[in-house]
Symmetry: C2
Subunit: 228 residues, 2 copies
DNA sequence: ACCTGAACACCGTTCAAGT
DNA sequence: ACCTGAACACCGTTCAAGT
């Protein structure tokens, strides 16, 4: 024990990257800044990490580290929904988290733990092996796709500082004033298409997924599940 | 008529960006290269476009330009599925297309045309205004999330040139050799989790979505839809 | 109206050299 | 074993200046 404790570890690197991400966003996350954050020069990072890609893999798993496993109570459906909601909340909590996680498949230890637990519940609910594997993949594709859109600015105006609500109102106006003979549906649904209530929108998709999966189970049919 | 035809137009810029994307990928797409492709110096681009973001918006819509509207035949379900499949195929056809499209909400003219048509079919099928709007959003979130994963390398090995099949086999081996007492499900489902058949995986999710949406319609219940 | 040259403040990565 | 200085080949963007 009492090892020389090296100044930089892969863990301290991930923590530093997390802080830079929060401060400057993914576009502003550079090797030089992470190095500075950890009190060292950029070239030194390459002793601990092959390249920036590998640093982003560390960051990816660090983002998942805060995931809390939902309680094991209620129907499989309620647990499935809760998984989706927590995953979204986790990504929303950190700046640009969806962008970091999105194209990154290499699972770190935290990701593995969550996946293991999720598969366990799906199998216990009665899903076959292939279905369970695909269901968990499906859920994460949806959540990541959704939050990716949610975290990216609706327009140049929002990127420049306008609120989501203002941006949505402007987008609605754009749709509403489109030529009504070529775009009758866009005009008619302008408000629905630009509704800024992302919680409702997310929940809609999540319920559809749950319904679709429910149809795979023996006792299938019971779609939207009334009161218990 | 016979205008002086400027050398560079926003359209020629989009076309040039498309070629650079195909050749060098999104990471290799720089203002300097696009400028060279169009026979001009980097600084000149800023006359036609505010910044790189705006160039990427052009590229985004150019990617959608090839979209073909599916034939208006069969059930709403079959048309919905076909929409999903074509959207995926479109993204898969161009290098890094999902990464370009992913966080980009500002819809260009081609995107609007597709959306208009899609909403028309959903409403004709009997979906309410809000449901139609959310259903189309749901489908695009799923497709984008899915293809984003599909187009990104499974591992460093695949990025370095290994085939998808090899990478999948290696990933399966990683899961299978995990400690069986802490990860029993990952070990048991190793093959299912790393199955490289992306078509089946995509189709699975698409069918679940369709089932979930079907449950919203008055004549609901009939989930996976047998032969017509 | 459209394009250029030159510059500014950055990048990721390599590598010999230090300790 | 771990870190640095210096360099290389790039970036996006601005701006005065050209035509």
């Amino acid at each position: 024990m009492a090892e020389p404790t090296p100044a930089v570890t892969r863990q301290s690197l991930a923590a530093a990257a997390l802080r830079v991400l929060e401060r400057d966003g993914l576009a502003g996350l550079s090797m030089r800044k992470v190095a500075a954050e950890v009190g060292v020069r950029a070239a030194s990072l390459y002793w601990h990490v092959r390249n920036k890609e590998e640093l982003l893999d560390l960051l990816n798993d660090a983002l998942i580290a805060d995931a809390e496993i939902p309680p094991r109570e209620g129907s499989w459906r309620e647990q499935f929904l809760e998984y989706g909601r927590r995953h979204r909340a986790l990504l929303l909590a950190r700046r640009d988290a969806a962008k970091v996680v999105a194209g990154r498949l290499a699972p770190g230890p935290h990701t593995l733990a969550v996946l293991e637990d999720q598969l366990d519940r799906l199998r216990a609910a009665g899903f076959g092996d292939a279905d369970a594997a695909m269901a968990s993949y499906l859920l994460s594709a949806y959540v990541q796709g959704f939050v990716l859109q949610e975290q990216s600015p609706l327009s140049a105006a929002e990127a420049a500082g306008a609120s989501r609500g203002e941006a949505a109102r402007a987008a609605g106006e754009t749709f509403r004033t489109l030529p009504g003979d070529t775009y009758p549906n866009l005009v008619a649904l302008a408000d629905d298409l630009t509704d800024p209530d992302m919680n409702t929108r997310f929940e809609f998709g999540l319920q559809r997924l749950a319904d679709g999966l429910a149809a795979l189970l023996p006792q299938g049919g019971t779609a939207s599940g009334g009161p218990s």
